[in-house]
Subunit: 217 residues, 8 copies
């Protein structure tokens, strides 16, 4: 069952497709896929995965609702696990852990715009998606619905718009961030960090969520 | 020029060889090498590398004095860079950064008893070498000379004994820690962490020393 | 002596009845009663109870002024102590302690929208009444008069409106929060917490106000 | 398979029985049972239950080793779940959560000497078992083995002695603490706190481990 | 030399008289005098007294400029030291210390609206003059010029208006605060606090500025 | 009923008289009286007064046990309230509040060796009784029994010795501290602080226990 | 290669000249020169110098872009190192360190408006350039572009305007600050501080960046 | 009036001369003089200078008692102000400020072993005199009398020994520290820091005692 909305998200006409339980067969992606997720909260111990949003940078965004107690989602898992397709996240660490915990999928390979921003935008310590999008793309992301009941059976239009908006800018951000990473000679370090992210998520799930495993103390 | 000392370090007779500038040709190691270093302090920006200590777990420990402004040490570098030999450290991150900065060598592959201890000894938050050695091997490491002038041209006997003692227990620790890591199913995560250590050291040298690059904030 | 005001509080016509000293005989409630109180401040040691507000969710709100040194209020106490009627509070712990201290009444049974919100709205850490009402009911509660002289003999109209507004939304909140608690399977834990609230208030009055009695440290 | 040790623990001759996997049929208890547990660490997310220690205050202490991946322990569970027998803990909250998580047993009814100490010994803020035992019973508990590898297949004698010692004093402590609680009129509050402990443990398991659910903020 | 300004300060027509060095003979006050001072900063060790403002609650406010290195001001001192006239301050402690240090005058008797507010307005922790005036008198005090160069030889009109405004409300505040202090039975404690203020200022000048002399630690 | 003990407290033979409920008629004091009290804890809200200790500096120390729910103690109150006799305390603030709360007596006049020490011993921030006695009198006060059950019906000998020892040194301390206060010209400030102490205790009882009423913030 | 912009910066017509790599021969300055720099960030270890801005207080501002890996800039260095010309900075410490590190030039003599402000404007703790300019000159400095990618090859107009604006007010600020420093007798201390600034920058570069070398601890 | 003591301070026979009010004419020094001072405490606002201790490294130490209200000390001042003689301090900043405040003397030139230690001993953050003497000279300094009544008219022998001991090691420390400073190329920075110390002391006296004038914030 899919609900379609034609939304104008940040001045762009986007078709948002909300799918119950899994991606339909008809949906396919080309090139890197921007991925985000929404949960009942930030706790890996408590809060279940509610939505996975995906976009390949085109005019469509797809939102899969994960029903409580039902995490089949065969086609979604196949997309996330497909090693031939780069997945773009902002702060991948959290999404990777949630996806692995509830869908059982090891998502790879990964590009994380938050880590890229930390390595490229040394002139600031503001690396939230809203801040990066504002400075690099000149667009204002609304964060109003960020804290809302993502587990609701029926999402409001503003929830859907918010959920979709988080995957609409990652392709553009990657391009801008890569340019600086290359210019400043930091691409190799960035890549090594991206590659470690699944292990970082595994550490979170295994109980080292609050520890910097590499710290001295 | 090599100075030899026959010391009883922690109830064990050890031949400690202090070499000025580099390892002599005659020295060879078999199997994994325990490595440690001493510096003028903890600052990557300020404090130079003074000593590199090595031991293959046998009756000999080798200490190479790195002279100020002279970091040739061709044979030492070859040993450290030899990809066929596992290097054991305790808190490898710091030593790797110092060695790369002053000797220009990317040390690999790595085993770090501090990270192993964090993943294995979940029942404590004391992962200093002294603590791990005390609990796992039942031996008391003196830390009295830890803060001393390692840049001095002539080291005191107690400095030499202290420097040597830090590489004498790493082989035994690895065995004990591996047993728990395997029993608890954490060897794979540990290995991924060890493999990331050179990048973590590169981040330190590149200016992210005080940041947990994977943190949210 | 009762003062009547016909107020439009948050877009709703409400009859607010301000009673000096006690509820009049004529007032009766049906079903759960929303209860709130206003005091001279937050200190159980220092600040006296000034008002108790009540509403059964209908078009009337009742405010009882507790006069300094006079805490008869026989009818009010009967309502609060009536075990057959559920009392709805937001952060019941404080009100229960104040009511027990100044009116000598053990108020029960209890429903607390703050605890319910903590257990249901895991996606946020904002559980103040204003925040919960804003997100769940879409209404803006003014908090302007929150800090004012509730011990004054004659209350201003804006004080009365503020005092009344805190009991007008609790019935609606309970419905919304229960829906999530049930959906997520947390109703039983919530109920056990509600049932412990009178003991928590007793602990406050007995001198453990600043301690989490269940904490390790 | 049971290993027997005749130990002198704190000047008392005690027979300690270490059972692999479950209590043997032959073991029975009379009256309240002191219970403690040892785990791989303090994390409910990560660290498995290793031992459950029990004593009815007589000359015998029983230690059940819970094997990794095997939590049958039918007889142990029956003892813990037996509503007719009071279980004495020190800081029951942690043990209850661990036992429920790994053995699936809701342990009740409960007496917690830590909560009792907080309510009775108002003249101190030291409520660790070692402190309470020292002041009230005049005995010194060694805490040396507190942090050790409780998941080891073969426990050392000092581990066994340490594990047993934690259940040998709870009966005597209860008597001393009850005397003060009654004298100061706090028995009722203490009982209400004990009764809430299983819910407090459920909250820990459900993801509110770091929250004081009754706090304002 | 006196400069006169006819200002409308907070909706009230006030004649502000700026006197260089001392009050002129012609100025006299009747009843309690509101007093405030402006300095080069908050340090008793460093920042000199620049202005003393006075008002007896009527239509005139007087500002005396204390010239650097000249603290004659015979008439001003006589007014401040006059034991027959109550002096009203907001946070008298600071002004008393500055006045004693630079003018050598022990100012008494004292009424402090900040202490009165702390004892009366238990429902808030905002006891700054701006906050008290706002809530009790419904007026908005501008604090824009609070941090400015009060040592300038020629003050700007907005500086003069700001300096004057701080003494225009203290009489009205005292009336409002006294009413609550009396109602709640706290007048005696307030008076004892006012009487201790000169000693508190002496302690500040003697070197205990950062210590609560009555504290345990 | 009085229990007599002949104790050697800190190398001095002292007759300690433990009186149940009140001082007997036969006891009289000459000159300033050192006073201390022991309670069930530090909370003015929770912990009852258990003992009042008195000594006039001679060979006798008197301890009055205040029974739970019985605070007659007519003779003790008369001694404490006698305005003709100076009472010496260490940290009088706490004892004054406890005595006023439980005995209803306003104790005066007061000398506090803690405040005197703060004003005299500027070379240290250690003003606990143990520290002051150690430095000024060269004696070691044991603090071992400080935290113990002072509400017990029968006190142990070590409790009695501890309780007595706190009033045996105050006369000597006063002499030493006065010498410095006079030498450094601080006697007047000290006296003003002593005189404010009953008000400070009243503020504690009235609910400002955690506030420095003279602070800016 | 020079790019010219005629900008209205804060209500003033200014010709801004952006030079690639170095100042052109034709540019000369008369009197004190205001200097500022922009970098890739705040880290002396990581972030390279991107721009140096200069103005002699007239209608022209010059911006030199330092290209990555190219720090020739012979004419710029000559101007900075010219001991006959006073260089005005705001928080010179940082700029001096960056300039010395990347251009190898010891910049002297120095006037720092931040230190001058700290010594003159004792009535505030806000010594950021924006705050000082606002209060002393009545102008609003935009800080919007402060955090942006100064290493970009082509700067935006708003970046250029921002970079230029930081050197346009320092001459006027110096005049205002000197007046107070002289009036309050602090010019000599200020000068000694200015003279120490190059050493302070050397300490930063040598590894004492986070230490107050004069502190006790 | 001079009191002579022949003391064995740290295993060395030293003649300590305690002079009332000033150095006698007969005393002369050759070469650098180690200087220390003792005061009534650490507050520049409150605590007077009590002693100045001097030693030229030979077998004599001189202690001048500064009497309250009498700071003539003509000969002492001449020695301190003599620009031809280097004065060695440990943490000169404090002593310089105290000496300038109470004796009116600008002490110069200066060598400070604390700053030298910070620049040389980068391997530790322990730069207290006791720590530096322990590590570099292998001697244990007692700090027992550090906090004592230095304003007493008659000092105890242990006070005199303590006061003298602080000037007996500075010559030897300087030699050891200079060796490292030269070896590591930091002598020039150290000298610039020593030269700034009188200004740092002036800033302390002028009211910037708690500020790092060079800090950003």
């Amino acid at each position: 069952m899919t609900r379609k909305l034609s939304l104008t998200v940040e001045g762009r006409n986007v078709q948002v497709h909300v799918h119950a339980g899994d991606l339909p067969d008809a949906v396919s992606f080309s090139g890197p896929i921007a991925v985000d997720s929404e949960t009942m909260g930030l706790s890996l111990q408590r809060d279940r995965l509610c939505l996975v949003q995906l976009s390949d940078g085109g005019e469509h965004a797809h939102i899969v609702q994960i029903r409580k107690g039902d995490a089949e989602a065969v086609r979604l898992k196949a997309v996330l696990a497909d090693r031939a397709t780069l997945k773009l996240f902002h702060f991948a660490r959290f999404d990777l852990a949630m996806i692995k915990r509830d869908l059982g999928v090891a998502c790879a390979p990964i590009y994380c715009t938050k880590i890229a921003s930390k390595l490229a935008r040394t002139y600031t310590d503001r690396h939230g998606l809203k801040d990066v999008v504002k400075e690099m793309l000149g667009r204002d992301l609304s964060k109003e619905q960020q804290s809302s009941d993502w587990g609701a059976e029926t999402l409001s239009d503003s929830q859907i718009a918010y959920a979709a908006s988080d995957v609409l800018h990652l392709h553009a951000l990657k391009a801008r961030l890569d340019a600086i990473l290359i210019r400043e000679g930091r691409m190799e370090m960035a890549q090594a960090c991206f590659d470690f992210l699944p292990t970082r998520a595994d550490l979170d799930l295994a109980g080292w969520e609050n520890a910097d495993i590499f710290a001295h103390g």
